[in-house]
């Protein structure tokens, strides 16, 4: 579990920005955009009117060329290098936004995993597709963006062959296996840490990183999941009547509904001219028989909370 993208700002007061190691990218009315020479991963914005700088980018990508895994030493190396180029102490920068996440190997196909993660209370949800394949889901509110996405695709499509080899050698990445990225993007970090402003040095402290790990797992836990229905073992138990009931049963907890009650009410509402008493009884019995074939468990089979907990404990040993 590690930090990834950061967006930080600093007022320079009487100092001036050293642009010797920067490459000018664009000039806007109120800002000049640079990136580090030979590296587009790190953007440096200068606001001359307020003598302020803003640095955006992924330090793991900058240092390692990937964000599969990074250590605090990687972070220190990257930040010290940037600080050296800009001649600024960037550890005192205010943190505007940042991402914290992890890549987790999962025992399911990524699209199936994503299909079974439905809703997060108080957040909007947006699915992302490539063609017809679901590749990501983004849950968002005003403070936080939680992303779940198929990271194998990113690794295969975005990273060079040499880096992919390095991932296999150093971290055991296997292109045949399935991986998902779980990530929290904090839009207002101060609300999480309940403090007025957060500086970069504080964000990198063990205490704050621990909070982020726990928050990531808690956020993941609170995603409402389907996949808590045991698929019947025999073909005869899965008829065209059981399948919609299985779907409805899965949605019960998420939408707080009672499948059986809803169906009974629907049958009751059918006029007497169409259904007599016996028709109703027969239909209810049929539905009940079908419902008996469906066994649900409390926990979704697609829930990876335990895998994340194992990872967290392993990291903290």
């Amino acid at each position: 579990m590690n930090l990834d993208y950061i967006d930080i700002t600093k007022f320079l007061h009487k100092d001036t920005l050293c642009t010797e190691y920067l490459q000018k990218n664009a000039v806007y009315k109120e800002a000049v955009q640079y990136h580090l020479q030979g590296c587009k991963n790190i953007e440096v914005w200068e606001y001359p009117a307020t003598n302020q700088i803003r640095i955006k980018g992924s330090i793991p990508y900058f240092v390692n060329g990937h964000n599969y895994f990074s250590t605090m030493n990687d972070w220190k190396e990257g930040l010290d290098y940037i600080a050296g180029c800009l001649n600024q102490n960037i550890y005192t920068c205010n943190v505007n936004k940042f991402e914290f996440g992890t890549i987790q190997e999962i025992p399911f196909i990524e699209a199936d995993f994503l299909h079974n993660h439905i809703k997060l209370q108080g957040m909007t949800v947006k699915p992302y597709y490539q063609g017809n394949v679901l590749t990501g889901k983004v849950f968002e509110n005003s403070n936080l963006i939680t992303k779940l996405y198929d990271v194998s695709r990113n690794i295969k499509n975005k990273l060079d062959y040499s880096i992919r080899n390095e991932l296999s050698r150093a971290y055991g990445w296997d292109k045949e296996k399935h991986y998902i990225k779980v990530e929290n993007h904090y839009k207002k970090p101060e609300t999480l840490f309940k403090q007025q402003n957060l500086i970069l040095s504080e964000l990198l402290s063990d205490e704050h990183l621990k909070k982020l790990q726990i928050d990531l797992i808690n956020t993941y836990k609170s995603i409402m999941k389907t996949g808590c229905i045991h698929i019947p073992a025999t073909k005869s138990d899965i008829n065209s009547g059981t399948i919609p009931l299985m779907v409805l049963k899965e949605l019960e907890n998420i939408f707080d509904i009672n499948t059986e009650e809803l169906i009974k009410q629907k049958i009751k509402s059918i006029p007497d001219e169409i259904f007599n008493k016996n028709d109703r009884k027969a239909r209810v019995k049929q539905i009940k028989d079908n419902l008996k074939k469906i066994i649900s468990t409390e926990k979704s089979s697609y829930d990876i909370t335990e895998l994340l907990n194992i990872k967290l404990n392993a990291e903290n040993i």
Binding site: D15, K76, N87, N197, L204, E207
Partner: protein
């Protein structure tokens, strides 16, 4: 990578030059990093040999290119006080920043 002086080298050079002049080598300190407070370049204790334990905290907003700040806390250079003193300086900085 561009060849640059490391933070340690810069601090060392600075102390070497100014230390020689100011103290005539009567008191001295090494500079150590404080792990959880990376915004500070480091701290020193003047001077354990004489049982004084004054704490120096060194910080520069511009990587020692044009200015630096040296904080002196008399008698607080003992391990049990360090974290609290660093936290105090950090809080003072943050308060100043929020007033800007």
């Amino acid at each position: 990578m561009i060849q640059k002086y490391s933070k340690k080298e810069k601090i060392y050079n600075f102390l070497l030059e100014t230390g020689k002049e100011l103290s005539k080598r009567k008191v001295h300190t090494s500079i150590w990093e404080m792990e959880c407070f990376t915004e500070f370049e480091g701290y020193g204790i003047i001077d354990e040999r004489f049982n004084i334990f004054d704490l120096l905290i060194l910080q520069s907003e511009n990587n020692f290119t044009s200015s630096f700040t040296l904080y002196l806390f008399r008698g607080l250079g003992k391990p049990e006080y360090l974290a609290d003193v660093f936290q105090y300086v950090r809080n003072c900085h943050k308060t100043q920043k929020s007033l800007v």
